[in-house]
Amino acid sequence: MSTHTENITLPQGNIEERTTKINLGPTHPATHGVFQNILELDGETIVAAEQTVGYIHRAFEKIAERRPLYQITPLTDRLNYCSSPINNMGWHLTCEKLLGIQTPKRVDYLRVIIMELARIADHLICNSIVGVDTGAYTGFLYVMQYRELIYEIWEEVCGSRLTTNIGRIGGFERDFNDIAFTKLEKFLKEYPVVLREFENLFTRNRIFMERTIGAGPISAERALNYGFTGPNLRAAGVDYDVRVHSPYSSYQDFEFAIPTGSTGDCYDRYLVRNREMWESLNIIEQAYRKIQDFKGEEATIFHADVPEYYLPEKKDVYTKMEALIYHFKIIMGEIDIPPGEVYQSVEGGNGELGFYLISDGGRSPYRLHFRRPCFIYYQAYEELVKGSMLSDAIIVMSSLNLIAGEMDG
């Protein structure tokens, strides 16, 4: 070593007093999406950070001003694409609130199953990515196989996997088939074992704990001021959950706990997500039991009776005049929506996903605004990473569950 340093001649001036600016992103493998962080480093310590967003802005709010309600559902898929069904359901609930549609209980419970599966898929990705960013790839590769089981259930219900466009205003496009329920049973049986094993890999793993405990902490007060919601807020110790505070889709019929942390650091966020997955499993089991309790005609209901907004079945379109007319009117977007102003929110994978819809009575919204949770809480990034090491910047980002698609809207 010493022989080498003799040959290096540094320029005059103390190099350690100077700071270095580096770009983390927009296309860095550790940013998991297209967003850029400009970090100012003193050695390896972060002294300032600036986060930039907007690289994949697609103007969904503007596009929505020209589309009839049902054509907006595919736009919501592309917000938080790790849990598209929650976004879809949130949008359907917004429309149903505006139109005054009451959904049958069975529809609500089916939706709860789909949404909780989405929450598990979302948290699973986020937590296993935190593992990857701390150097443990195994967990991620292992659990991917079980996220696949969730995707297969969605595929049975709606035909697609990632951008699901699942459900319709008033219910579902079709009833769950037997294969979907068989796959759900398989998932409920196999997943607890996997989740326990995943927790064994990380929760008491010394390397993981030392990397995440104390990394990117936030107090409850600052978190609220920054508009944190979802698991990130709960990790800071605030038990705010939209499912409990403003129940939608009959969440009031279910028994579940809201896990909270205390320090709001990466480790607490990880723990909260893991415990939420257990709660989600619990909710799915309750919902599945409730669905099995429906008898006779009730057991076949999968949508509300709203012919003006719910696409009729194809065989009716070919044989019944009325179904043909409604089909035509819905597809051509010729049914005016009532004027009104609605705010509806759902507990998304990473926080409160809100829909603010203003209608002036035309065929499409006058104005539609998405409250995208990670757009709002990503502002706190600088405060979270200031003073910590460069390697912490990476895990703070992944543990916040930032989804570029949602951020840019």
């Binding site: 503007k62 020209r66 001021n225 508009g227 505070h245 051509m332 010729e334 502002q379």
Partner: protein, 196 residues
């Protein structure tokens, strides 16, 4: 005492009198407006008063109403009292010629980017904002794209040569009657009577 919409309305009227107006309750959410000069005073009042305690700003956005001269732009705040679990909606209106509205960033850190977004899309000038620059659109953009004077492109137009997407060009897509009919689903069909 339970925090009801009536109580909030009463407290606001005691404090600001006639200046808070337009009370409504669409779908159960108390909605009201105030002159734009008062926006911070109202927000601060709602934040500070122990019995009101609206300390969480859920959402901030803007809306463009070109048909309302003098109050073309609205800034809409959604506030939430997490303990009593009550949400309210508060609006201020401003003229588009001078779209100055005081920034709420001192009160809510979460307002920072949301105000930048509202500026970026609608051109609301948030006075006192620490860094009011574009956030989603490109920096070079010299207009505010969410305003209503910029409609989305009419899909039925035929003057544009866009062969790959079925309009104009040598294939003749978009000029035949059937193709026109197909595209009309994207346009503002004025009246459904004729097609049924």
């Amino acid at each position: 005492m339970e925090l009801t919409n009536d109580l909030i309305k009463q407290r606001l009227q005691e404090k600001f009198g006639e200046q808070v107006s337009g009370f409504e309750e669409p779908y159960g959410m108390l909605t009201f407006e105030a002159p734009k000069e008062l926006n911070l005073k109202v927000l601060q009042f709602l934040y500070d008063e122990a019995d009101l305690g609206f300390r969480f700003m859920t959402d901030l956005t803007a809306v463009h109403y070109p048909s309302q001269p003098g109050r073309e732009l609205a800034v809409v705040y959604h506030l939430h009292n997490l303990q009593a679990n009550v949400r309210i909606r508060f609006k201020v209106f401003t003229a588009i010629a001078q779209p100055d509205v005081f920034s709420a960033t001192r009160l809510y850190s979460s307002a920072n980017w949301q105000e930048r977004e509202a500026y970026d899309n609608f051109g609301v000038n948030f006075v006192g904002h620490p860094n009011l620059i574009r956030i989603l659109n490109v920096d070079e953009m010299d207009y505010f794209p969410m305003r209503k004077e910029f409609p989305l492109e009419d899909q039925t137009r035929v003057d544009k040569d866009d062969e790959m997407f079925g309009r104009g060009g040598s294939t003749g897509f978009g000029t035949s009657p059937t193709a026109d009919h197909h595209h009309s689903r994207y346009s503002d069909v004025p009246d459904g009577g004729e097609v049924v």
